[in-house]
Symmetry: C2
Subunit: 473 residues, 2 copies
Amino acid sequence: MASGKELCEGVEWRIRVVDGSSEVLVPPTGLARKVWLRTKGLISGLGMKVRMFLKQAWDMGANDPRKVIHCIKVGLALTIVSLVYFMRPLYDGVGGNAMWAIMTVVVVFEPTVGATLYKCLNRVCATCLAGFLAVGVHWIASQSGDRFEPFVVGASIFILASIATFSRFIPSVKSMFDYGAMIFILTFSIVAISGYRVDKLFDLAHQRISTIIIGTSLCILVIMLVCPIWSGQELHSLTVRNMDKLSDSLDGCVRQYFTNSNGEDDQKLQGYKCVLSSKASEESMANFARWEPSHGRFNFRHPWKQYLKIGASMRSCAYCIEALNSCINSENQAAESIKKHLSTSCLKVSSSSSSAIKELAESVKKMNKSPTIDLLVEEMNSALEELHNDLKSLSHLLNPSTTAENQISATGLVPFMEIIPMVTLASILIEISVRTEALVGSVEELVKESEMKDKIVAKEEKPEGTMKALQRV
Amino acid sequence: MASGKELCEGVEWRIRVVDGSSEVLVPPTGLARKVWLRTKGLISGLGMKVRMFLKQAWDMGANDPRKVIHCIKVGLALTIVSLVYFMRPLYDGVGGNAMWAIMTVVVVFEPTVGATLYKCLNRVCATCLAGFLAVGVHWIASQSGDRFEPFVVGASIFILASIATFSRFIPSVKSMFDYGAMIFILTFSIVAISGYRVDKLFDLAHQRISTIIIGTSLCILVIMLVCPIWSGQELHSLTVRNMDKLSDSLDGCVRQYFTNSNGEDDQKLQGYKCVLSSKASEESMANFARWEPSHGRFNFRHPWKQYLKIGASMRSCAYCIEALNSCINSENQAAESIKKHLSTSCLKVSSSSSSAIKELAESVKKMNKSPTIDLLVEEMNSALEELHNDLKSLSHLLNPSTTAENQISATGLVPFMEIIPMVTLASILIEISVRTEALVGSVEELVKESEMKDKIVAKEEKPEGTMKALQRV
């Protein structure tokens, strides 16, 4: 027994930890030791988690340095606004309410210019409107005598807060003034109630509005001058990127299927999934882009909504690619001879659709009608024609009565079930090319609308128009 | 000419306005009249818009009275918090900072319990943490002498604000503490900067925290006691509703195609589109549901994440229904004889898949494993088998060499191209049933996990467990 125990103690139990090192597992001998081991385990587990978390954060920062820049911008804006407190003259000007400037900066500062402008404008307008209304209500309340004053103020708060909250549910209000409605309720309540105590009501309202204007102006300056990120530009790039992804995964999937190669990058093949899941971000970006002034190649009234239509067209293509993928990965596989028979025309259809989409991406990128897109669509259509003919001749592989001239079928008939996956794949490909044509239509509409807006702007603002024309030369 | 003019003036030009009435169009005679007509037109146009807007708002309220209730709840909470100002003792207790209580109510009150709790807990924790840190930083700053104090405070604000802003980009932090990070920056900045001016720093921090606690407690009380809307319950109902829609549109599309009827409700057929677009709302609901205490049949740690998996499974079915729809509405239509040949088995597959999904909806609704689901899946599989056989026998319609026993083919061969749409439809239907089986799997997992959690809770909290058992009896 004793030697057995010795033997047991002689053996070391090692466990491999996630980070690659290995730890000795020691059999517990006493309570203190147990507690110690447990604590050690907990601490090392926690340390691991913290390390993982920090690594994740570091990777995120390294992948998108603009996020780091945004953080520095927030810090910068907040430090500048602190000057309002530090410097006497400013402090005396806006009173103890300089806090509102800080609050405004914290709440209003968003990563993109559009989102920040949306919040700034909403905040300023809602504060002014609510401030005036509250002063009016306060005046009415003060006329109604000391006893009824609280009731008048309370009732007005109840009614206006309820109505403003309700308006936030209405889609058209929500997309433009959601934040404004909240600020309206906030300012109205605070000013109306403060009116009951604070004598200098106008001062309060004036101070609040001026501090908010200080805060918002600072935010707008910092967000637009220090490495600005424009919602519109982001939406534009996202659309171009998604189109490229769509094109790559369409081409990649079909090519991989027919060449039986596994060399394709899996991330590339799954790219269409990004298209499927980017509806929400597209909508919010288009919403914010409306607030942005003319920037880069985009005018103030650039047709942002058209991007949503393009997004919907892309998604409808992506649904088909999803179906295509399921068809490719299904258990029932087509006979090799059939696959060979259709491979040339299927590859032609997919590669021509894919290059049409790629050309569209290029067209959106440069914001002009591509000179080759019509050619590419024609090519796609002739590839479709070819696929149609190949599909027709497929029947020769099944129906010996008309296969005299067909070489493949002479070697033997293929069971009907083995052509089904191929036929499905071909019809999904046909559907994809139909949807690609719809995508061509919506991109052309965007380019046309954008050129029209450009002309209107050029007419309205001659000098800028000339500048742009010069830039283009 | 004169009589012509008289004739012209005798004729009245009437225009029908959108609301059904008609207006006389009078030819303009003078500038004043023109301006008058234009103003009138503008006003009536504006009035129309306002009326449309009000009608839209009214419809929205009538369709979902809970939105109206939410608005009343916000008004109620705000009016109650005003009492803090109206009543002297409370006012003296929390000083001029009672405003914070109002602000908390306005900012924190969300339509669902989960969202409100998330914001409340984030706000309280972040305020406490930031308050303590700011007091600490203030102490260090005050030790460093009058000259360096602003720099220490400014640097600390810059660093902490940047870090906290960066943390908001990290997905795990964003989903749990996004609001908290913002409040942290806000409170830290205000308290740290106020420290430079206000002598009674501890008082400020204490007042702010106590007013915020007053505000949040009031919000939690009102949101949970007056007609509460639970995120978890909403997610649950959305999932059940979406499943029903999926089932209806699958069944409806295939039935409409084969019976050539247009009697199906179009809204019902398009139901799968709701499934496609509900990813974002599912995610936010699941996120908020985690914060909710045990309510209705849901325990605190109900497996909400599993709902997201079910949602993903439903969407993968919906993608196929989209492909199915495009196939049904495509230009190339199948030959009637082929359609007839496959109609029975296709209808069987679609209706069995559809009723399996409906049964799953029922199963999720009742949160127990359906006794009939295995049977339905079996039925679906036998329908699939039948469809397979029918597809196999399709070749008889094309290949006369083996069609001696087939009655339909005896009447004439069908061109190969005319069977393609039907074959595609059949393979998409097969894919849908495969995905339905995956959906069955994820629903079963949800039911299992939820039962497991129920058992754990029953063990942990004996009395409540017994109560629940009693309720179930």
